[in-house]
Amino acid sequence: MSRKTAQKPDMQPELLVEMYRKMVRIRRFEDAIHLKFLDGALPGTVHLYQGQEAVAVGVCANLRTDDVITSTHRPHGHAIAKGVPIKSLMAELYGKSTGCCKGKGGSMHVGDASVGMLPAIAIVGGGLTIAAGCALAFKLKRKDNVAVSFLGDGAANEGDFHEALNMAAIWDLPVVYVCENNLYGASTRVNKVMKVKDVAERARAYGMPSAIADGNDVLAVYECVREAIERARSGGGPTLIECKTYRRCGHSRSDANAYRDKTEQQEWLARDPLVIARDKLKAVGALTDEDSDTIEAEIDAEIEEAFAFAEASPLPAPEDCLKDLWA
């Protein structure tokens, strides 16, 4: 297991800025969605991604469009990072027929074949074996694509984790498991349900390499994952990467986070991944205050547009319920 802290990024400044822009897009999108939910404008429930932006963005910056990801009940950040247009994402949350799943999926199942995002699987752990299967397909087809499977700390206690990682390891599949350890599965703190300190420790049980990254530092995530992706792409097999992070929001729609320790919360909230990224970009001269203001303004406009699109879009016809089951 290796621990990664970000080195000086040997990246194009444009790529750095692009990552930052994506993080802002996710943050603003989720903040906006949260308000709409509180207003009662959106049906069902939602699991928001604020605080974990650096993970989705740092990971997906390593991926090509035809690489694929599997996601979870908390998928908006992954979707945006992988390139799902926020219009169709937003429309899906509204249950509109212009949504990325035509309103059939909802928040927990967003996906988009054209950008390599499988429909999110809301069964905790459910995406892990599927990602291994995608990777197997790449291998059988002799393609150099990679599958990335996002999971939470909680998912690491599901039997699927065990079966998936073992299979990925024995067949040297091109898959990277990215565990976002945000310290909680719903209201349950990770130390109550797992004796090991690091989820990454578990990779050893499968003879799989692992690494731990600061999940609030997009550059750290990027670099850590890059190594794993390169290994996977070149036939070197899977990796388990643990990103230490924290959610800024509640678990789902209605959660006051009363089960979280206040000091812990303060410490983590002080490490805002957006601030960390902005400061780093500024330090290397890739971003000015002006740039970042512009980015925020642009993103806000995008989001406004997405809301307008979603709200103006038609609801599916009731009988559309009967479509799309069979190919």
Partner: protein, 337 residues
């Protein structure tokens, strides 16, 4: 008599049974964390403060694990009340649910028993296909499980208490729209399923259906949330000149055919309503049985009004189409007249 919500009645049942019998304990995800949810639908809220974390046992997200643990504890004479947050996750524990819990007693020649309860919330609530199923029928097909499906707070309390005292594995299906959660945890389209709960202790024996509404023209058999939709339909039907009798089976196994047949002999017509999907649903079994046993009393084929054979869609207009409602039930009844 205090009025309790469905969720509160379930909680009271658990509390009373845990006080009565120290072998009873709860096991599940996020059920007893301080400051937490008290289970996905708050049923166990506050109980860990009373009984401690040993008896309100929070587990990792490991449905197969917690179900297997409940089975093992039951085999050693404990009385676990296990739960999954949504019934959809029972499929993650299906080996335990089908190959172990209901078969161990039989394959041991009766030497061991598995007195466990599994609670599971069913029903569609705009959360998409993996958080929306009504899965009663999968289990109604599996020999060895008793199955309760309370439609109101009174039944919820009485049936859950009976479940805990039963020496066999018992599944209790609860409907998400009936819990009566308030404030920020309120579910859209929730139905008031609260009841006056007697001060004296009571239990409800399994296998006793409840005649919810008397009528003479048609029998509507409905469970869980569908009892309410059937009620709305019956009101509308009254204006159509059709006097509907509504029966809530309360338990699917054992099933109270006697009460149902009594009604069908009177009305000559039966409409079965469930939120579980149509094909191979428990309504098919009831329809087949009715035909086998009271064929000559039927004036029309048994009609089923159920969710269509698709997963549950997310978007509200489609979901409303999916879940049988008052109007679809009414049409079902009228089409049969």
């Amino acid at each position: 008599m205090p009025k309790l919500t469905y969720g509160e009645a379930l909680r009271q049942a658990i509390k009373e049974e845990m006080e009565r019998d120290e072998r009873v304990f709860c096991i599940g995800e996020d059920i007893g964390i301080e400051g937490g949810f008290g289970g996905a639908f708050t049923v166990t809220l506050g109980l860990s403060e009373i009984f401690g974390h040993e008896r309100i046992l929070d587990t990792p997200i490991s449905e197969a694990g917690l179900t297997g643990v409940a089975i093992g504890a039951a085999l050693m004479g404990m009385r676990p009340i296990a739960d999954v947050q949504y019934c959809d996750f029972l499929f993650c524990a299906m080996d335990q649910m089908i190959n172990e819990a209901p078969k161990i007693r039989y394959m041991s020649g009766g030497a061991f028993s598995v007195p466990m309860v599994m609670r599971a919330p069913v029903g569609a609530t705009a959360r998409g296909a993996q958080h929306a199923q009504s899965v009663e029928s999968y289990f109604a097909h599996c020999p060895g499980w008793k199955i309760a499906c309370p439609s109101n707070a009174y039944d919820a309390k009485g049936l859950l208490k009976t479940a805990v005292r039963d020496d066999n594995p018992v599944l209790v299906f609860e409907h998400k729209k009936l819990y009566g959660a308030k404030g920020i945890r309120k579910v859209e389209g929730a139905i008031d399923a609260s009841s006056e709960i007697p001060d004296e202790e009571y239990t409800i024996p399994f296998g006793q259906a409840r005649v919810v509404r008397e009528g003479k023209d048609v029998t509507i058999l409905a469970n869980l949330r569908m009892v309410y939709e059937a009620g709305f339909a019956a009101e509308a039907l009254a204006e159509d000149g059709v006097d509907a009798e509504i029966i809530d089976p309360r338990t699917l196994n054992p099933f109270d055919y006697e009460t149902l047949y009594r009604s069908v002999r009177k009305t000559g017509r039966l409409v079965i309503v469930h939120e579980d999907t149509l094909t191979g649903g428990w309504g098919a079994e009831v329809a087949a049985k009715v035909m086998e046993d009271v064929f000559d009393y039927l004036d029309a084929p048994v009609k089923r009004v159920c969710a269509p054979d698709t997963p549950a869609p997310f978007s509200p207009p489609m979901e409303e189409f999916y879940v049988p409602g008052k109007e679809r039930i009414r049409q079902g009844v009228l089409s049969q007249q």
